[in-house]
Subunit: 473 residues, 2 copies
Amino acid sequence: MTLNPADPAFEAALRADLSPDVFREVEPRYLEEPRGLYAGKSAVLALPRTVEEVATLIRHANAARVGVIPYGGGTGLVGGQVAESGPAPLILSLERMNKLRAVYPDENVLVAEAGMILSDVQAAAETADRLFPLTLAAQGSARIGGNLATNAGGTGVLRYGNARDLCLGLEAVLPDGQIWNGLTRLRKNNTGYDLRHLLVGAEGTLGVITAAALKLFPRPAKTGTALLVVNSPAAALKLLSLARSQLGEMISAFEIMNGVGLDFLTEKMPELRQPFDTPPEWSVLIELGLSGELDPMASLETLFAAAFEADLVTDGLIAQSQQQSEDFWAVREMMPHANRQIGSISSHDISVPLGALPEFIIRAGEKVTALGDFRINCFGHVGDGNLHYNVFPVQGRSREDHLDDRGAIKAAIHDLVHELGGSISAEHGIGRLKVKDLERYSDPAKLSALHAIKAALDPKGIMNPGAMFPAPE
Amino acid sequence: MTLNPADPAFEAALRADLSPDVFREVEPRYLEEPRGLYAGKSAVLALPRTVEEVATLIRHANAARVGVIPYGGGTGLVGGQVAESGPAPLILSLERMNKLRAVYPDENVLVAEAGMILSDVQAAAETADRLFPLTLAAQGSARIGGNLATNAGGTGVLRYGNARDLCLGLEAVLPDGQIWNGLTRLRKNNTGYDLRHLLVGAEGTLGVITAAALKLFPRPAKTGTALLVVNSPAAALKLLSLARSQLGEMISAFEIMNGVGLDFLTEKMPELRQPFDTPPEWSVLIELGLSGELDPMASLETLFAAAFEADLVTDGLIAQSQQQSEDFWAVREMMPHANRQIGSISSHDISVPLGALPEFIIRAGEKVTALGDFRINCFGHVGDGNLHYNVFPVQGRSREDHLDDRGAIKAAIHDLVHELGGSISAEHGIGRLKVKDLERYSDPAKLSALHAIKAALDPKGIMNPGAMFPAPE
């Protein structure tokens, strides 16, 4: 069952049913992705403005058996948005469906079209004195439909959950071109299998999300930020437990950073103000968002004192101003940029059960060291058990010197993650990068169910071919 | 594609592969359900002790094309656990798989077998100084596997979510007898379609849940309870908004009650201590769970004062003791029992968007009144937009006098719910009671996707036949 190319005859058929300005020449940006691992070839580009236009496009693609690549902000890190091989696809960009459809402050709900940029969604919530808590590095260009299709994570997950947890309802076009109007704003709705949870995280392989009803939250009355130096990842976990016992759900972020990452910042971004003169080996960035009468400074001081007493932290800073809080966060947020400038040999978006995190860090370090001389920058969302575990060349060498090491490093890390009951893709998804890993590490019953669902809802395999599953032969 | 009966030959084949004590005579309780609407006929009853035994049973049923009814605590309210028609099924009770497999307090995770009773799960969490927040009337006999299969709701949803939101991973047997080991304890795991969210809420139609990894939470340091008299449902919603702005996520429950329900309690349970001498027309039960240094009494007093100032409440009580808090809750929790003693003509577990709640209550009242003389008890989880809207005969008449009115009342309520963008089953599910309603009110694209998924994962239709979908012909 091979797919057909989006050839001139196909494009002519589309143009016969749709306004000419739905189409545009494919610019290179639609055929690239942030890590430069994949490059697309020719394609037909459509930029629909309504769900009906999306449905028309999908119906044509289905009838002609042409692959469809749903395209959001193009910020995905696993190649889900770029078809490198196979017949030329239809690229379906949601960028013109970027309207805020409605805000219901009293319901804590916002309805956004899929092409709305994440930071615009955040801003719309703020205008209504509410919080939309999905927060990630690419928020200035990522679009909410892509965030949902990939079940994006980020720094707010500890408190507010992943993208899927923030979604109440969806409007989507299914692979046969049917429009599913599932845009409910309901908190409870037990009427059959939850299609919303099937489409969220499906990476565009089961249909195209065109709009979503999203959960909003009260904005915390006050926030506080601290940067604490911990003795070890194990101490970081104990600190998290201590913080939770004192502050319950009011911990908005709990991020771990390694000294290697801080050294990278010194090396590549010397202008960035770093909080500590000497980069500590392990530090934790804590953000509190408090309701009611509580004082974040006092809460952080109480936590720091108890953690110091318990030998969990050796040093620490509590932000005394909004500026200082932003400085602390800049260190964390600039880390992926510094990483990219250094150039990783192999990077891993993994999760393990929280209790296995210290063991993972120790054993992964041993395994990588056994393979050669490398620098490891391990940082991330420790409260979620989610680490970005990235391996770099030593100074003076480049990633190109280590192309042959990549496979062995990746296998060592992923095997260990699997052994510890973890996930080889915590928040970035499968895309095209991890198709073989999904096959290799998945439970067989799960894998056969995934294939059955894909075949049932997209029997011709037109939706994002090559993502999540091998491309049709 | 008809199913075959679980006849003596089938039972003999099972017995050849399994220990004799897996089987037991079917007692009447497995063929009844709480509302007495359905009665099962003969069946083979199996009580497996391990997931492997469950898999063996399902493999046999699949090979012989025999229907399987997964059975938890038997407390479901939509007949999902009783096959009234069709060939005799295999009833697969999880009651012996009731072990607590593990608790990870530092990870805030507990792993329970499906047959564990909900209140035992709550108690196990409490022993580890944690909270498992799923709370519902039947918690003393409902089993966690059934809670997950039906995506149970209850009074804790506003703060902590539905059963699905409390589940990190599942172990389950799929309709072909494969064991899916998806019992991860991960907070982030983006590796393919989320089967967990497909099985949760599938009401046993896609497989049998045998164990689950569940989320725990810090136990709130202090709790507080208040019962406030509000002017109207609209005022109740404004009170919720006000409470949220003051207390953020620390509102654990927000339940509305109607004077008719309080009158029912007076009539049927005169020994129950009622907080107000004269039952108010509308009252709201608020429960706070506070972390840190906050004082619940002071918080409730502040809220009450502001609400009084804003003309939202006219009277109110703040519990001064644990006993008084329990008294307040007893009023709410006894309401379903009183309802059952009065005997409803038609009861509805509906949800609407929060903002549409006052309109729903007014218009539904008008519609019911137009159909005749009835008493309406409308109460429930107003913070979730979820009402139990139950219609009763006037004093001196019985439900049997109104059998002919049931259809018209139900249609009037469900049509209105549908018009307002609501759900005809907020938390109880579809079961056998609402199969036709699901067909009638579902979006066509959703309905066709549901059928495709069912056919893909259970092509012979053996899992809970007649629930969610019409029974195979």
